[in-house]
Amino acid sequence: MSQTAGDKRVEREAEFSSISGQEIEPLYGPEDVEADLEERVGTPGSYPFTRGPYESMYRGRLWTMRQFAGFGTVEETNERFHYLLDQGQTGLSTAFDMPTLMGYDSDHAKSLGEVGREGVAVDTVADMERLFEGIPLGGVTTSMTINAPAAILLAFYVLVGEKQGVPAEQLGGTIQTDILKEYIAQKEWCFPIEPAMRLVTDMIEWCSENMPRWHPVSISGYHIREAGSTAQQELAFTLKDGFTYVERALERGLDVDDFAPRLSFFFNAHIDFFEEIAKYRAARRIWAREMKETYGAKREESMRLRFHAQTAGVSLTAQQPLNNVVRTSLEALAAVLGGTQSLHTNSFDEALALPTEEAVRVALRTQQIIALESGVANTPDPFGGSWFVEKLTDEMEEGAYDYFRRIDEVGGMVEAIRQNFPQREIADASFRFQQELNERRRIVVGVNDFTQDDEEPTPILRIDPALERKQTDRLAQTKAKRDAAEVEKTLAELKRAAATEENLMPPIIAAARARASEGEMITAMQEVFGTYTESPVF
């Protein structure tokens, strides 16, 4: 709504735009929303799901409070898992260390100094058994954040379930597996794009037949945003990645309604409150429409976008770290008001190191306060019908479709990645934001304004370097005790299958059962697939 002549309203000197650069008008009113609002917004639990995937939303069931955890060896992480469950957490989420994410065993030369640093080290199924010791897999849902080697970690998990007497069809949880965003943003890869896409499709296919309660792919915008993208880019690239997986599965001959209900999403919850809420609402509407109209889904479950959210690590500051509790609260609130199905809240010390137990507890308590004290969970989509939020949702949707067109013009997402298109868009956005900070056109409290020189140091979690040795010793013991001939046979079989079009899950499970290590399986596949090197743009 524009200001009328003679309006005496005086505005302070500031940028009235979202953190992503979307201009915000002085006021929003009924004329900002199109006439068919009701059709586009609908009701919670009904197509196009703008207002939420379920009718009762949090009145029916609160979101899953799922804190991402993993550090050191499996013993330390298992202890943290038990602690979190004791504190009232309702789902598990596993962070693996860098070597595990890249497909290197802990004893690989490239793993030196990295073992257990940013997550837990897992080399063989023996590690996985210890990681989940005392946690009945039939009674929790587990999320595993791993992508390039996801099929191997899923095989380990299935075998742990089997050992506990829980068959694969009863295991519930999510494995990230979203390899496209790795090439775009997070940069943990093992293979070239095409064989990596084949592995993703193998997992979608295998899970649709064997693990009906499992989400084989969590299509993730989180890392795209953390790499410096705008909200619009996060939304557009993530959904486009999702459509690309759908297309691959359809090309494989799968029925969309057999696999689409098990696709889930993972978004960032950044600091720009209303923009984030609009992003989630637009995501649901676009996904529903495209699944129905472009990909021919018939079941509502195939159109219903469900997501996990994590507050923005990139928004946290090393300066005055307690301020991060407030940032995280606002971000978590946006995720809840945007209708998330599960949530990780970052700890206030995460710009410094992995979180301490105390910091993790505050983060979890933040969710509990939002859920149980604030009253915001009492009714679904409380901002539905807000002229401002509806307008932002529409603009977010338009921004996404604009990117879809540009990606299609270069020949789809895989080709766009090869041409560095999303990578360049993100680098540009990230640089623009940094310039705004330098010029103090945007303020980050404690960083470029309200700074404080006499800060007390914050106690941080230190990872004992001796843990690396403990893990390499454990791997050596596992290797010494296994049947070497069986390992060799199953690895040869995996390599043979990799050169065909067979689904690779069965040979991976067989090799995992023989206690082949992650690195051995990756190497066997790399001998067929090759590796990947990026030509970076900045």
Binding site: A109, K110, G113, E114, E118, E188, A318, A353, L354
Partner: protein, 139 residues
């Protein structure tokens, strides 16, 4: 007859180790380039050997190591040692990333000129490298 022309400062921006957090490295690379320096960005997942080789081959005046994985106390000394072993003693070494405060003195003792932690402004980093990288004249 030859005229000495000031050579642009050559900086290698490197990502040692396995972490893929390259937002900071790319922003710094671009800020240094915009400030008129020659920037060579190594890309991700570099071993200390690869980085030392790049620094030598590119005849760099400075190298910025970006590490957000917590492996800095393993990787930085290796790069420094490899450079020293090759007789390279005039390259300015800086580190950026999530480096705990108590590790900074130890890194500086190894010969790291400066450590930039989260929130450091790109202007400060550009100024530091401009002021401290030994500018050499090409004849």
């Amino acid at each position: 007859m030859s005229t000495a022309t000031a050579r642009k400062i050559r900086v290698v921006v490197a990502k040692p180790g396995l972490d893929g957090h390259d937002r900071g490295a790319k922003i710094i690379a671009r800020a240094l380039r915009d400030a008129g320096m020659e920037v060579i960005y190594t890309g991700l997942h570099q071993t200390p050997e690869q980085i030392a080789e790049t620094v030598i081959q590119e005849d760099a005046d400075a190298v910025g190591l970006s590490i957000l994985s917590g492996a800095h106390m393993t990787l930085v000394p290796k790069v420094v040692d490899l450079l020293a072993a090759q007789g390279v003693d005039d390259v300015l070494v800086t580190v950026g990333g999530t480096i705990p405060a108590e590790d900074i003195p130890e890194l500086k003792k190894l010969g790291v000129a400066e450590v930039f932690t989260p929130g450091a402004g790109t202007d400060d980093i550009v100024d530091f490298i401009r002021d401290n990288a030994s500018e050499r004249d090409e004849v």
